[in-house]
Symmetry: D2
Subunit: 157 residues, 4 copies
């Protein structure tokens, strides 16, 4: 298993920042939800294999683009974060939907609202190229949110 | 081909209300976009076969639930619009993604923000049961939004 | 939780028949795989909530069609198992992919090859209308196959 | 627009080989289908934007792996064509489903049966690394097959 937390930290993303997005998404439905429990959920998600493979692939493409090692026109598309490219969202959605449709819809919301760390990444306040990273982080946050939504329902019953 | 406009009108949804949601979604990216052109896009989308089949299926389930013809526990799940049911969102997403990933993410946004007519349906201000209808309408609006996003890009180039 | 085994039995499908399809799919990759362990996997899958909701919805539509309670043209589409309908495959795929992409591809294979019980359902050797049931069963078998594929890899490491 | 035919030729894949797979898939349902019309369909598909972006991304990853420019452990995963990696199938499925669910199921079948050129790629009879290319080609063939299936139905009516 790969230490995704370390890889994300190298790219300027801390797990507690992802946990904050999860907390913001789920707080309205679960008033007693703590930031600590959101962080635990995020820590669990980044250990899942499909999450690891999607993050490794997307991060590699961002970094290869920064190092100018991608061929044209793919390099130009990733450099400009071309809205119709779609592969970045597909990798994010692949993470978001591991806990079902709620993850997919939460990803769509985050993709538009760009809460917290996702907005910083989208503005490239961190790193030179984050075409994939913002979607990967949104995917992890959406999956976390879906996991909590499912658990709430379970405990209610 | 089925006259979906007539079926939707019977359930209290007018195409111009869906066009208004499309307009609200795309206006920020396309300041000269008119409501008329959004309506034309919506009229085109509801003629597509996959859209017709998803809408026919979802509408039938809402109406059968209203008529108390569904078996338990499915009836209870649809009556309560149980958040983890997921089949309603899946039918909406099946419409949303006919123009690619932008439709998927727009659907997620609408699912959360429930703009215009979608909000009215969600509150059951129209009909007794709209478990599927709000997601079907969000799917059509998201597909419309994605179609316009693609066309804008094409004409820009 | 719903007793899906009982509902499937009522429609002429026994869990060991689904386990046989799983066994046939995974045997080439796992020579020591027993039919018993495939049955246990299938028993676990039908307890999962998203599986239950998809099966309940599809079964209800098959039965409502048999009872002539669906409106036209939806009734005609389901009666003929119209190949472009797609909602039946979407519900099956929603089950198949709970263990990732391997489930999706296995579903596609089963949809074409219609192994064992799936073929019998497709020919309506059981019940009058199985438009949804064959895809639901293929979805369960594909998910079972994916689950075993993941476990094999884990134990190998 | 990118000349995908030229890029695929560079990797040893000729469009007529993809057309042959389409022909093999659809011939049983359409006895008068010619190889020429399958080739035209394939030529149309590789001009679509989402197809171009998925192919450009997957091809770049194969080639970067061959040139030893990918970081570990991603390099090892792609080198071994690790069955649980999944990103290669996701890019192929993203092409396959542009004409709906029939494309998705055809992709699943091709992923297992590896007809014609797909089998050659899977065995690395061409190039050193084809982890993505076989899935991209299967995706194009599946989309072609779905497009023809839709057209047959239209003309029948």
């Amino acid at each position: 298993m790969v230490d995704l937390a370390a890889l994300l930290t190298k790219r300027g993303v801390y797990l507690h920042e992802i946990a904050e997005v999860v907390h913001q998404l789920q707080k309205p439905f679960s008033p007693h939800l703590t930031l600590e429990s959101c962080l635990e959920v995020v820590e669990g998600i980044i250990k899942k294999r499909e999450v690891q493979y999607n993050v490794l692939t997307g991060l590699a493409l961002d970094i290869l683009a920064e190092e100018n090692k991608l061929p044209d026109p793919l390099f130009q598309v990733i450099l400009k974060d071309e809205p119709l490219y779609g592969v970045d969202e597909v990798l994010g959605l692949g993470i978001a939907n591991i806990y079902g449709t709620i993850g997919t819809t939460s990803f769509g919301y985050l993709d538009k609202e760009k809460l917290g760390i996702i907005g910083k990444l989208n503005n490239n306040a961190i790193n030179k190229i984050n075409t994939f990273l913002d979607d990967l982080v949104a995917g992890i946050a959406a999956a976390g949110s879906a996991k909590i939504a499912h658990n709430i329902k379970e405990t209610d019953k």
